[in-house]
Amino acid sequence: MPVVRNGGRRDACPTTNSMETQTALPTEELLINMGPQHPSTHGVLRLVLTLDGERVVEAVPHIGYLHSSMEKIAEASTYQQYVPYADRYDYLNAMGNEFAYVRAVEKLCGIEVTPRCEYIRVIMAEMNRIASHLVYFGCLGLDSGAWTPFLYCFREREVVLQLFEDTSGQRLLYHYLRIGGLRNDLPAHFCDKLAEFLDYFPDRIKEYDDLLTYNVIFRNRLEGTGQLSQELCRRYSISGPNVRGSGIPYDVRRVVGYSIYPQLEFDIPTQEEGDAFARHLVRVEEMRQSVRILKQCLEKLPEGEINVKVPRKLKPVVGEVFERLESPRGELGCYLVSDGSEKPWRLHWRAPSFYNLQVLPELVRGAYVADIVIILGSIDIVLPDIDR
């Protein structure tokens, strides 16, 4: 009598079929905890895996280990005081988070910022996108067993972080954007240093591609792994490079056209295949597009004031606003409800990783254990972003 395994999900594991008809050996599924302490879960994520040999039958993610009550803190602090907290939940995209929050508050208060300020904000956001994608690239290399790309990516990221440090005084959690402006203008050497970096960075991307992206082992690991169909994308509200890897050119920078993005020329890279390799290629291409955007920004960067006058006691009108922008991980939303007082009544982050991670059980079903880390890496999550 054939043994029924996989909880009736036999179709998900095609290679085990022939084995089952031939042997009647009783086998057991292996229940195993991946995380919370695991090097490849990118933080403190716990996956409860049911394994059939090396095949995944079911994966249940457990989150909340890094929950830090970011939304409750917002209700207890004033609008200005919350800006440094906005850095802290998606720490790889601190500038982007500040950008989203500051834009939401400005929209609520009807504040128009100066053109130079907008340009500098976009420069910062795009530099942060490069830094974030570099971390992604290096970590995916680590997940797939290649150590060296990680160090190379961090070498280049170091340049970006140094520029951030010179500008904002911090390397990771900047608190550079202010409601109605910025902390300070760019330092004197900023534009030259950035232009120098932008000159050699595309060559370095090519080097990474030679080292990792087009390596045959890496390609074989990624191609066909974690197939994300357009239907899944819709059902799970996937956004960012993940959805673009499935052939949907959905980019909030283009769709909403916030800030000065409509005045800049850049492509939305897409790939049709929807597997981990497609998502990887999209991210690599996005780094090149960010370089393009940054070059245009440096060219067009207007002179002038960076700050507009904002009352120290900021009291927006009663109302609410949902501000979306494109973080490196996808659609970042900031839902802000004001009751007319100095403090936000309610702040909710539409965190891209939170929505993107939910699709993981669908993607890893039937895959190998080794594929889990690849799929997780290719979705590019940040755990504090999920738990907030």
Partner: protein, 358 residues
């Protein structure tokens, strides 16, 4: 050069043993045991020292490849860093997890370490100098492969005995991988055996004659076996791109997850010594062992040449490790069974033809 320093040391040890036994009235049977015992201790010490050096080298090579510095603090250019690490590991508490099988847990690393140390018995260090001084085992290659494959058992014991599911997965992968890759490795070596006409490692080296062009690696019909040997050798020592049994990003260390202190150090030493061992084997089989590249009239001792050649292999494996990502388990099996083994048979056929007609 008919004799060598290593041979002279071996002969001196033997002479001393004979004298010692006669002087104390010990039966002559123990002369061999004493002489080989001293030789074995010398090789063990050498192997440990080389392992320390290779670990340092690995750190430095990886450091420079990754635009880092590697160890710099302990000793000149951090040379004593690994010795200090070994000391630290010696001091550490030996943790045995709850529910672990004590004896399996203990025997795993010991068996892994022992099995490949036995392989050093037949490595030809220099002219006429194996571990047993002038004794040459005529089935050396067979013995070597047989002894080293016992190490798989140690890995499985370690994985099963740890009572950890990740370790178990790592051990299963390790067993499958090492057994699979022994087949193409054997095919590659059989090609060499056919060309040399002997299973004795000493004779294989001797058959490669003096001078660089006589080495087997420069015979076109042995190129495919040579590349296969490199691939399978990397797989046998569980190094990237074949480090699936350990796979720190997937299995959190695999079969040695639960080990600490000296038992972990044994695994660690074994991995790096094993790498050197593969280098020695490769040097002996393909690069002419102790043979000098410029012919017989070379004043440099053959032992030095052997070391240089084996370290070239070690550096190559390190270069692989810090460049390539890891294969997935099904791709690993596919590479062995669907690609390397058919290619091995083709290579064997080519070598047959070459041996008959060249």
């Amino acid at each position: 050069m008919n004799t060598s320093i290593i041979y002279a040391i071996g002969a001196a040890v033997r002479a001393w043993s004979e004298e010692f036994c006669q002087g104390h009235g010990i039966p002559t049977l123990f002369v061999d045991i004493l002489a080989w015992g001293i030789g074995a201790i010398l090789v063990l010490v050498l192997a440990l020292l080389v392992a320390l050096f290779i670990i340092w080298l690995e750190r430095k090579v990886s450091g420079y490849i990754q635009v880092r510095l590697g160890p710099t603090r302990v000793g000149p250019v951090g040379l004593f860093q690994t010795a200090m690490d070994a000391l630290k590991l010696l001091q550490k508490e030996d943790i045995i997890p709850q529910g672990a099988d004590y004896w399996l847990h203990l025997c795993g690393p010991v068996l892994v370490f022992t099995s490949f140390m036995l392989g050093f018995a037949v490595i030809p260090w220099d002219v006429k100098a194996t571990l047993a001084a002038n004794v040459d085992l005529n089935v050396g290659l067979l013995y070597l492969l047989g002894v080293t494959s016992v190490g798989v058992l140690g890995i499985v014991m370690a994985g099963w005995g740890s009572n950890n599911k990740w370790s178990l997965l790592g051990a299963m992968r390790g067993a499958a991988q090492i057994i699979s890759y022994e087949v193409p490795l054997l095919l590659a070596l059989v090609c060499v055996v056919m060309v040399a006409g002997t299973l004795s490692l000493t004779r294989i080296v001797e058959a490669q004659g003096p001078g660089i062009l006589a080495w087997y690696v420069f015979k076109p019909y042995l190129w495919i076996p040579f590349i296969m040997f490199i691939i399978c050798g990397t797989a046998e020592v569980n190094r990237t791109p074949f480090d699936l049994p350990e796979a720190e990003s997937e299995l959190v260390g695999g079969f040695h997850t639960e080990y600490s202190g000296m038992k972990f150090a044994l695994f660690f030493l074994t991995e790096f010594d094993h790498m050197w061992f593969v280098g020695l084997l490769g040097a002996a089989v393909f690069l002419g062992g102790w043979q000098s590249p410029i012919g017989a009239a070379d004043p440099i001792p053959g032992f030095v040449w052997l070391m240089l050649k084996s370290f070239a292999f070690v550096l190559l494996l390190q270069w692989f490790r810090w460049t390539l990502p890891r294969l997935r388990v099904d791709q690993l099996m596919g590479l062995a069974w669907k690609f390397l083994i058919p290619v091995g048979f083709i290579a064997l056929a080519i070598v047959c033809v070459a041996v008959l007609f060249v």
